[in-house]
Amino acid sequence: MILDNMIFQLIMAYIATICFGIILNIPHQAFNVAGLIGAGSWGIYLAMSHLGVGIAFGNLVAAFLISVASLYAAKYKKMPMMIFNIPSLVSFVPGGQSYQMVRNFAIGNTQTAWSFCAQVIVIAGALAMGFVLGELYHKFSLYFRTNFLRKI
């Protein structure tokens, strides 16, 4: 049952990534790879949340994985990295929480609205932090490679 649901969710994330890619007009050679990155990272995020990892750390790891996978995809396909990481991120956007925040502010439930606001900030911050760590990984790998090559 859980596995069934998981596979269904992976397919959904794959479709969502490709659809967002079409809206952003990414080159059609990149559809499959971007979709796979989106589905894979969403799968890992779901598995982690099943294991009881909180939303902040889950989103951070997912964003880091998207960033690193996009880096290698960009090298492999010889295309800019943003073609892969922006569409892949679409399943992680805190859309539901943002909407609930706005709605609760609008109808006067300020207390509830602030708690949703905190969730949105945590998720967005975790995603941004994951991207920053991905950039850091990129810099480290460059440094490592040049130093390694210089030694031998």
């Binding site: 969502a16 967002f20 079409i22 952003l24 800019p80 943003m82 990481n85 399943s91 956007v93 920053v132």
Partner: protein
């Protein structure tokens, strides 16, 4: 440097053209600067300085009396053009094309790059709404309503943005109409949960590119473009939320 004045001007113009196309179509700043620097370097200019922001480019090279400026008036998102300019810059670095050819191909990218036809984008937006509605809310009953509402909302955004070129107003109107359509869909029985249909419907409007670029610009230390893009994303989000709030007041 014994380079002719005309040649230098040609190099400057090629750099400006490439940078302008990249910024207009949603590239991050580090890539813009990198691409312009590479084009200048491969054309034989060892020392090019540039100042790049989201609304304009200034570039100057040594021994050339004039700095050149390009202003950027409208920005859209078309990552295909970014990829093509990237590929062109790589070809130029490998000496597969020369400078006049580069300028000609840049012009061609600017004017003739094919985009997906509107109906495919429309279907993609509709599909995106339905799929994300299922992912976010784990409910299937509202997916058809999300499909219709999200598609129509995106179509309205697309047409208003092409007609008037005021992105924030287009987002406001599109989300306003998404809210009204969601209310109608619940009333006539096409959907069940008003909230879920709206969550799905506004997803194609989410400013994903400005947010991601803001983070990457800030990480690379660009303190002008990073906050500017973050602000752009914030205004978009406020416009979308404003449209929804207008509808919520009547429900």
């Amino acid at each position: 440097m014994d380079m002719g004045f005309d040649k230098q001007t040609h190099i400057l113009n090629a750099c400006l053209q490439a940078g302008r196309i990249l910024i207009e179509n949603g590239s991050e700043m580090a890539r813009v600067i990198d691409t312009m620097q590479r084009i200048a370097f491969n054309a034989g200019v060892k020392n090019a300085q540039m100042f790049v922001t989201v609304t304009g480019i200034v570039i100057s090279i040594d021994n050339h009396p004039n700095a050149q400026v390009a202003s950027i008036d409208h920005r859209t998102i078309d990552l295909d053009k970014v990829a093509r300019v990237n590929e062109l810059s790589r070809k130029f670095a490998q000496r597969e094309i020369d400078l006049p050819e580069l300028v000609r191909l840049l012009d061609r990218i600017d004017n003739e790059t094919a985009t997906f036809p509107f109906w495919i984008r429309f279907l993609a937006a509709a599909m995106l709404s339905a799929v994300l509605l299922i992912i976010f809310t784990h409910e299937y009953v509202d997916a058809p309503a999300g499909f219709v509402v999200g598609g129509i909302g995106f179509a309205i955004f697309y047409f208003l943005n092409h007609k008037f070129k005021v992105q924030f107003l287009s987002e406001f109107f599109a989300s306003f109409i998404i809210g009204i359509l969601a209310a109608i869909a619940v009333k006539i029985g096409l959907g069940v949960h008003f909230d879920n249909i709206i969550i799905g419907g506004i997803m194609p409007l989410v400013p994903g590119v400005p947010i991601t670029n803001a983070v990457r610009d800030l990480v690379s230390g660009n303190l002008i473009s990073g906050p500017a893009r973050a602000f752009e994303a914030l205004i978009s989000a406020v416009a979308i939320a404003g449209g929804i709030v207008c509808v919520l007041n009547f429900i």
